[in-house]
Symmetry: C2
Subunit: 341 residues, 2 copies
Amino acid sequence: MPASDGDRSRPRLTVMRDVAKLAGVSHQTVSRVLNNHPNVRQETRLRVLEAMQSLNYRRNLAARTLVTRQSDTLGIIGFETTLFGPASMLYAIESAARDAGYMVSIASVRDLERRHVTEAIDRLTQHAVDGVIAIAPKLTVTNALAQAPPSLCCVAVGGAGEAPTVGIDNAAGARLATQHLLDLGHTTVHHVAGPADWPEAQERVEGWRQTLYAAGAVVPPAEPGWWDAESGYARGRALAADPRVTAIFCANDRIALGVLRALHEAGRRVPEDVSIIGYDDMPDAGYFLPPLTTIHQDFSELGRRALTLLLEHMSGASTTHRVLVTPNLMARASTAPPPPR
Amino acid sequence: MPASDGDRSRPRLTVMRDVAKLAGVSHQTVSRVLNNHPNVRQETRLRVLEAMQSLNYRRNLAARTLVTRQSDTLGIIGFETTLFGPASMLYAIESAARDAGYMVSIASVRDLERRHVTEAIDRLTQHAVDGVIAIAPKLTVTNALAQAPPSLCCVAVGGAGEAPTVGIDNAAGARLATQHLLDLGHTTVHHVAGPADWPEAQERVEGWRQTLYAAGAVVPPAEPGWWDAESGYARGRALAADPRVTAIFCANDRIALGVLRALHEAGRRVPEDVSIIGYDDMPDAGYFLPPLTTIHQDFSELGRRALTLLLEHMSGASTTHRVLVTPNLMARASTAPPPPR
DNA sequence: CTGTGCGATGTTCACGCTCACAAACCGACA
DNA sequence: TGTCGGTTTGTGAGCGTGAACATCGCACAG
């Protein structure tokens, strides 16, 4: 003989109706309590809350999403998230999102071909995210973002382009770095740049160039490279061989590490012979040989700002297009006045 | 006068019924096509697919989740994901998950108090994830995991504990490192350990100790510290002051960086006077001064294994409890035979 | 010619929730 | 006492999908 029906294969989880029955109200009242609707008598509310607690009730978000069409979930499009910068942004965004009551889904992109970005947006859309933040250091991304369905709010972090953007003020950081070296007495500053197709790298080049120009200093050529120590080492060797080089601004700390090694091998001391300044203030930059002067960026602030901007756009309350976070200088031992000539 | 009803506030998105109508079938047939049900005539299938394409139909996953109780989403509990190791694991897991058709939601944990971990599990549960992978370098996490609702499959990455675990074989890595130094002729090897409450750090201590013991070498004391260069620097100064120290195994590369600096300041050359070996092979370890010999870990492999294990457990096909990935040695310039006495 | 079995398709219901609307209730005031 | 404005609560419908069951057509054996 069959047992009482209803307990088939599925475990039969606690739903609103159960809470309602226990509290002696309708399911709608439970819903009201859950959504903090004002028109619920205090006593009723308490009874419902108690019932929820004793049944260990959790509302089914899928059902909620089905009817409200919003998921309280944000999508993040990630790129190169094993690097310190992007990883920090990711973390910062996630933290801010959580504090704002959002869940975060992540869609990493192996390379920045537009196709892959579009596909990532697609996956996120299908999972009904309410908005998207893209860690988007290249133009392809921000532009692909602009082509997302108009109902989907997107914000780009880092880089530049058509979509609303939040970023570190790279030009300002580069100016800070360059000016610091000029102020120490160097007649000019060399630059080891990042990749040419990354806006962040270009903005740093720009800030560096402007500062030199404004100071009436010679602007040496700056050939681009990749973001790693290997690239810094390769170009550092060339710079080390040139005795006129007394100050080098590196597009990031990893590049600086490579340059440091190249100078060391060439027998040029830092900072006595050559001053080096990096960018990022990655962990342990203070323990390089010598400790690296660098530009510090507040990634948590960046994440918070990105989230705020996204929420503003989602609620239609803002049309701000670009938000910049100001970086600051961390002076350490790798910079000093130039050697007496 | 009111316009035709149905187009109220909400944009009225394309649903199965629309596709069905266009293809001249019932919505259920559309559902069958979508789920690759075998019993659909080829011709019908094509007609439906065509209709889906022309309407740009995407199925509503919330509705699907509501009825199937599964979301094709995995949860990741992240800790310290701005560090290289965890960030790499995160990325690797996400990649593997995507290839397996899963979306990934992330819940970062600021600190590893059990309370916070439980809370993270809670958030993920509420969002109906099908399973959880925790980046869990401390016991609190794996144990909290074991307390998750039994219906929720959890796998821990890194560390050890009650839940099924995937990790790098830290003891093996430590043996590799220690043996490498012994083989070079050092009479014993000192160790700068990681935090005492991190299993990964303890396993490294254990592997180091075993190797020394097996070789009949003196086992020096190894006081624990944190994972960063500052900690390495502090303990490096003490070691640098002891002329008997000729070989140091550091629990990770960042610690090694700090030790390197301490030795440098004390005027002890690496590797001529002292050999140093790290752990992690973080990016640019090959550009330290000197390039760091270290233990390399394959994080992608780790991520893939973690996902595989989780899926196996979810399908009930496996009871494997612990999976280990073998690390290998990256010999670079920071290790050499001891100085002649 | 009828019955049987199977593949292809349609019908109906349930998933758990929110929304719109209706009903009940309460005090106030003419 | 009746009506009115407001608050509190209940009822029913519908969100888009998948599962169970019903139906239909057809081939083939008896």
